[in-house]
């Protein structure tokens, strides 16, 4: 009888540990998704695409897209991320023509024509965006993107958030991290696509 009680106790303990662990994991997964946005008002924020067309920031956030912030002088993080996103979309058959937006955090150097030239290898898949320092700051703050201009010997560089945002109907669905490989990126975008209308 005592042996039976002990067995029941061990089974109960293991079950409780399992339930609590699953609960914690679930909370962490949910934390990553549907991330809240900044409180800045975007209604007057207008950006400029690489064809010199003005785009209202709020309009841009309505449609499903992948948004990545960087700058064309970025040595490896930006080109690697853009290449990864581009291949990821190519590998997804029904990618619903998802657009990748590359938002420059360096409007001083990244004029529309520079962006156009930089993004030319990605053809129509990636749209370059720039704008005034003020508007870009508001837009980045709204999407909780951090960036800092830092002086270096030969000029300046920009330290910035390295993750890409999966955006739909004005909400952040999920983020693709710099360390996410192609497999993980494909999984995240497929999951995103299955949730958008």
């Amino acid at each position: 009888m005592r042996k039976f009680k002990n067995t029941i106790f061990i089974i109960s303990l293991v079950s409780i540990i399992f339930i609590v662990t699953s609960f914690i994991i679930q909370i962490n997964i949910n934390k990553e998704k549907n991330i809240s946005l900044g409180k800045k008002d975007l209604s007057k924020v207008i950006l400029l695409d690489f064809n010199n067309n003005p785009i209202k920031a709020l309009d841009l956030l309505k449609n499903p897209s992948v948004i990545f912030f960087g700058f064309t002088n970025c040595p490896d993080i930006c080109p690697l991320t853009l290449t990864k996103l581009s291949i990821t979309l190519q590998k997804i058959k029904d990618n619903k023509n998802l657009i990748i937006y590359f938002v420059s955090l360096d409007p001083e150097r990244d004029k529309p024509e520079i962006l156009k030239n930089y993004l030319q290898p990605f053809k129509e898949q990636v749209v370059g965006l720039t704008g005034s320092q003020y508007n870009l700051k508001k837009f980045a703050d709204y999407l909780k993107i951090k960036y800092y201009k830092r002086k270096i010997k030969d000029g300046y560089t920009i330290d910035h958030t390295s993750s890409s945002i999966l955006m739909s109907e004005g909400k952040i669905f999920e983020k693709i991290l710099f360390d996410d490989d192609l497999k993980v990126s494909i999984k995240k975008i497929n999951n995103f696509l299955s949730h958008i209308k």
């Binding site: 002088n73 040595p75 490896d76 993080i77 080109p79 690697l80 853009l82 290449t83 990864k84 581009s86 291949i87 030319q120 290898p121 951090k146 960036y147 800092y148 830092r150 270096i152 010997k153 560089t157 330290d159 910035h160 958030t161 390295s162 993750s163 710099f178 360390d179 490989d181 192609l182 497999k183």
Partner: protein, 165 residues
């Protein structure tokens, strides 16, 4: 007679399979260069597109010697501005910085130059990058100058190769 033909056909088939298999394997084979106890694995220059003015250099370095060494600088014809860099992530923000004092490579230890970590920053590239080899000279504190051929590979191909493994 008939048996002889069959056996020849069998040998031919096996040879063909072996040849195809070795070719497939050759594509994914690691490039390993050992220079006086310093082992360089898969030295690569990775570029966004052929017109890229800024490219990165990656490789694995193993010091099998019984003395510590230090990578001090890198030079090459491809650019007159090649720097040692590292990237550190803090609060989701990537911060890349130049390493002025060189990179230590301890005895019987290895070091990886890879995206988002240690890498060679090759700036103001003076030619179109093609999928060929580019000679870079690596200067070490003790091992002095070591010339290594870095194979240029597009980011697209690098990512696809990593994905297929």
């Amino acid at each position: 007679m008939y048996l002889n033909k069959l056996s020849n056909l069998l040998i031919f088939s096996i040879s063909l399979i072996f040849l195809i298999f070795s070719k497939v394997n050759a594509k994914t084979e690691d490039i390993i260069i050992n220079v006086n106890g310093l082992i360089f694995k898969n030295p690569q220059i990775v570029y966004k597109d052929v017109n890229a003015k800024m490219v990165a250099g990656y490789f694995e370095l193993e010091n099998t010697n019984n003395f510590d060494d230090k990578l001090l600088s890198v030079k090459g014809d491809i650019s007159n501005k090649i720097e040692l860099h590292n990237t550190k992530k803090h609060d989701g923000v990537m911060k890349m910085y130049k390493i002025e004092s060189g990179i230590d490579i301890k005895k019987n230890n290895s070091l990886k130059f890879e995206p988002g970590k240690y890498h060679l920053m090759i700036m103001s590239v003076n030619k179109k990058i093609l999928e060929e080899e580019y000679l870079l000279s690596l200067y070490f504190q003790k091992s002095k100058k070591i010339d290594i051929n870095f194979k240029a590979i597009s980011m697209k191909n690098k990512l696809e190769m990593a994905h297929s493994h």
